[in-house]
């Protein structure tokens, strides 16, 4: 008889530590991959598991290996059919003929895909956005559920027993099965005692006493057979996990796509949109994204067109705002939807239009929106000039007036990824009140 040991219940994830070490090692490379994904993929897809290729750099394990292309080698292979000694076989395209025994093992290790979990992806995505830890934690956390009472159930944990309901069932059952009550039994017992105590009871009431004793006995047996509280009576409170009461949200992405917006600008804008989407996704069950691009005219487009196709023309920002207004009226009534808007632009606008934009926001849009974020993407060299002053493009100056009046309006200039988060700081800080808003 050998020694059997059941290890199945031993702690799992013995190699989790190794996996973390490996990811840390490959961090730079994976970060690049994720950045590339964010650039080319859909906004809503960032927040999921990702397949990534084994990074080549940083994780190779060199050792002294014989060079395959030098020297004289000999192979012994099975399955000869037609060869005779002296036959010469061409090396290339000759099937597996030139493959050595044991070739093809281990070599493919560097070339395969593996899955990064959602947490790992977000970690990499957040890395140069410089999010505060608390925010990171909050974004990574999944949808919150609240347990809500939802009727009764016949099974559950003892702590959830509903006494009222249980007793009601028990009472009904006792009546239906005619379980003798205690009072009934006691009365009978008292009567018997009385008769027994009476003088001459033995002779006079013998018959009656005997009958009563039998009845008492029968009643008591019946009481024992029919339980006071039977398992079938017991009811438990039932709870149902309910997602926190947040309705749906719609997120408007507005972007200037005129020629002045280059690759870098669009990349920054995209990260900005992704981050807003992540924020919203934590809070709402369902999120629609509407993409509106504009040059001197605006239109609603799909995500691909939004980021990749080019359009020429001037720049009239107000057209985008009007388009947004139209979409809201048509499809997203503010009573049912939480409306979020994010606008990215390089700040250029046709002269005279900026004021119109400001008034559109002031008079109409800001009343409808939960939150409106505006980012102006500038050159890194310009950061020093514009960084702190209110000077700038006409659009910037016009929006300053909106910013002063509406607390849910945010605006900032960004030149590098790390600048993006501050735009959301207020949004995040306000989370509690926003949540209760609807």
């Amino acid at each position: 008889m050998p020694n059997f040991i059941d290890r199945r219940l031993n702690p799992k994830d013995k190699s989790l530590g190794n996996r973390q070490r490996f990811l840390k090692r490959a961090r730079e490379e994976l970060k690049r991959v994720i950045k590339e994904r964010v650039k080319s993929g859909k906004i809503a897809d960032v927040d999921a598991e990702h397949n990534v290729s084994m990074p080549a750099r940083g994780v190779s394990e060199p050792s002294f290996q014989p060079d395959r292309h030098s020297g004289e080698k000999q192979y012994v292979l099975p399955g000869n059919r037609e060869f005779a000694p002296g036959d010469r076989l061409p090396k290339k395209g000759g099937g597996g003929g030139a493959r050595g025994a044991g070739a093809g093992t281990g070599k493919s290790e560097d070339d395969f895909q593996f899955v990064l979990s959602r947490e790992e992806v977000l970690d990499l995505f957040f890395e140069d956005l410089e999010l505060p830890d608390m925010v990171k934690l909050n974004l990574k956390e999944s949808v919150a559920f609240k347990r809500r009472r939802a009727g009764f159930t016949a099974s559950g944990s003892p702590t959830n027993i509903n006494v009222g309901r249980t007793m009601r069932n028990s009472f009904g059952r006792r009546i239906a099965l005619r379980r003798p009550s205690r009072r009934e039994v006691e009365e009978l017992a008292r009567e018997i005692a009385k008769l027994e105590a009476a003088p001459g009871a033995q002779t006079k009431n013998k018959q009656r006493l005997e009958e009563m004793r039998q009845t008492l006995d029968r009643l008591e047996r019946r009481r024992r057979r029919i339980a006071y509280v039977d398992p079938v009576d017991i009811r438990f409170n039932r709870f149902e996990p309910q997602p926190l009461p947040n309705a749906s949200a719609v997120m408007f992405c507005l972007m200037d796509v005129s020629a002045s917006m280059g690759e870098r600008e669009k990349d920054l804008a995209k990260r900005f949109f992704v981050l807003l989407h992540l924020f919203l996704k934590r809070r709402y069950e369902r999120i629609d994204i509407v993409f509106i691009r504009h040059t001197d005219e605006a239109g609603e487009v799909d995500e691909n067109t939004f980021f990749y196709s080019k359009q020429s023309g001037g720049t009239i920002v107000s057209t985008a705002l009007e388009e947004m207004l139209r979409v809201i009226r048509e499809r997203y009534p503010a009573r049912e939807w939480n409306i979020y808007a994010a606008q990215a632009s390089d700040g250029e606008n046709i002269s005279g239009d900026s004021e119109r934009c400001a008034s559109l926001l002031q008079d109409e849009l800001m009343r409808l929106c939960q939150y409106y974020a505006y980012v102006e993407i500038i050159d890194e060299r310009e950061t020093e000039i514009f960084g702190t002053t209110d000077n700038g493009t006409s659009l910037w100056r016009a929006y300053r007036t909106v910013d002063d009046e509406w607390p849910n309006f945010q605006m900032t200039r960004i030149a590098k990824p790390a600048d993006i988060y501050p735009v959301f700081r207020k949004l995040f800080g306000k989370q509690q009140t926003v949540q209760l808003h609807k």
Partner: protein, 517 residues
């Protein structure tokens, strides 16, 4: 239709297993293994694990205890990927050369598979581990688990004290030299007990603390201007350092001037593990052949005795056939010669030659042909050979014909491969020799040795690669590995490729010329 008595003879029915059927089957297998096959095994410890735990075991090179390193994480990710994609099934078992011998059984296996695996690993491999001369001489089955426990804790302690990054960089460099970290010819010292190691470590630390640089400044006893004197000095120096040395890790551990005691200990750990696995790499065909032969024989005996049902036997045969499947060289599934197939066929062949030889067998194997004692012959072969010598001794012409083996020579600067020999009278010897050589790890791995170093001079470490048949080193990985050697040595390192026949230097490369660290 079966009579009641026969039905109760079955060890198990259906595919589900429980510990009772496992134990009953184990006992029946043990009876056959010990009494009929004459196997001699370590006590067995069978552990039931889940598929996830099997993946864990895979990535830490099959040891139940292993220190942490990112490369194991990489391997895990790789295995996990293949498994999830369904491109590779997990092994049904994993067995560890230790005393007691630990065998992992997967929980998903059916009872028939558990029986097969028990026969294969707990008796086949176990017998081989306990009796083969390589394992007996070079590994210490009773100490390995304790040692791994020590290694894991020690490295965790180092990480705590010196930081993960520092430990990782030493491990990276040590892993790069793992193949060059074994003694091929000299017997390695036994694993010393924990106490002894503790003493050695303390002594080293003490020496380090009390080291006085003043001794080095003493003037040399004599002027050495005479060229023959210099020559003699070099010889003296080499002798003092025990050069040339084939075990690079050993040399660096003992001689490197820049390593701290804990870094030396880590090199030692990696070296010990490399040494522990070295016999397994030299006996793949025999080890698997032995285990496959044992499980095949035992399962057939169980069936003959009516102890397992026909259904179970069919399942066993099906998986046995998969294991010993050998596709031809031009088959897209061809992965090289299957050690299970070759090993199993050779074991069966030995049995056949002993019992029922042909005239050809009598010519080739006069000592064993027709003697009838196949059991003793097999036990002797398992105990006293490694793959190379086993094939050289026992590969029979009829097996060469059965596998239709042929020999292909491949010269780098020729656009054609040439078929040198096929399975005919003139080819048997050549094929047998070539196949045996291809299993000789010593001949196939680059032979790299420490040649010389002037500890009192520029401390330049000189390695020599003895080039056989003109096979050079792959350049990128050579340079990267050389950087790792430099990292452990602390001073420049160079490697020279010297043709082992002509003595001509084919290439030279030094870390001084390599850019970056």
């Amino acid at each position: 239709m079966m009579p009641q008595g026969a039905a109760s003879n079955l060890l198990f029915q259906g595919s589900d297993w429980n510990f009772e059927t496992l134990a009953r089957t184990y006992d029946a297998i043990e009876t056959i293994a010990i009494d009929e096959l004459g196997l001699d095994v370590y006590p067995n410890q069978l552990e039931i694990i889940s598929s996830e735990q099997m993946l864990d075991a895979y990535s830490s090179v099959g040891m139940p205890l292993m220190y942490q390193h990112w490369s194991f994480g990489k391997r895990f990710v790789f295995e996990d990927h293949l498994y999830r994609r369904g491109r590779r099934g997990l092994a049904y078992e994993l067995v560890i050369n230790s005393n007691p011998c630990i065998t992992y059984l997967m929980e998903e296996n059916t009872m028939a598979m558990q029986a097969l695996v028990t026969a294969h690993a707990a008796f086949g491999h176990n017998h081989f581990f306990k009796n083969n001369y390589l394992f007996r001489q070079w590994t210490d089955a009773s100490a390995i688990l304790n040692y791994m426990d020590f290694a894991k804790k020690y490295i965790a302690k180092c990480e705590e004290r010196h930081g993960t990054a520092a430990v990782e960089s030493i491990l990276d460099s040590a892993h790069a030299l793992m193949d060059q970290g074994v003694f091929r010819y000299r017997r390695p010292p036994r694993l010393s007990s924990e106490k002894e190691r503790e003493r050695t470590r303390e002594r080293l630390e003490y020496e380090e603390q009390t080291y006085s640089d003043l001794w080095r400044t003493l003037p040399p006893s004599s002027e050495n201007s005479d060229p023959s004197e210099v020559e003699r000095d070099v010889t003296e120096r080499k002798k003092a350092l025990n050069l040339p040395e084939e075990n690079l890790l050993y040399f660096l551990e003992k001689t490197s001037l820049i390593l701290e005691p804990w870094q030396r200990e880590i090199l030692r750990i990696v070296r010990v593990i490399a040494q522990y696995f070295y016999p397994q790499r030299q006996t793949k065909v025999m080890n698997e052949g032995c285990a496959t032969y044992v499980h095949y024989t035992i399962m057939n005996r169980l069936f003959d005795r009516g102890q397992i049902s026909e259904g179970a036997m069919l399942e066993v045969l099906q998986s046995h056939t998969n294991v010993v499947f050998q596709p031809a060289f031009d088959d897209p599934r061809f992965p090289g010669l299957n050690p299970y197939a070759l090993g199993f066929a050779m074991m069966q062949e030995i049995e056949r030659i002993c019992v029922d030889p042909t005239p050809e067998d009598r010519d080739w194997f006069p000592e064993i042909a027709g003697t009838g004692n196949w059991r003793e012959t097999l036990l002797d072969a398992w105990a006293n050979h490694r793959d190379e010598s086993f094939i050289l001794q026992y590969l029979s012409p009829s097996l060469i014909r059965k596998f239709r083996l042929f020999l292909l020579t491949d010269e780098a600067d020729d656009n054609f491969c040439e078929v040198a020999s096929i399975h005919n009278e003139r080819g048997y010897e050549a094929i047998r020799t070539a196949l045996a050589r291809s299993y000789d790890i010593g001949a196939n791995q680059p032979d790299i040795q420490v040649m010389d170093v002037d500890l009192l001079g520029d401390r330049h470490l000189r390695l020599q690669h003895n080039v056989k048949n003109g096979v050079l080193l792959e350049e990128d990985s050579r340079d990267d590995t050389l950087r790792h050697v430099r990292h452990l040595w602390g001073y420049d390192v160079s490697i020279a490729g010297v043709d082992s026949e002509t003595g001509e230097t084919l290439y030279e490369c030094t870390t001084a010329d390599l850019s970056g660290e």
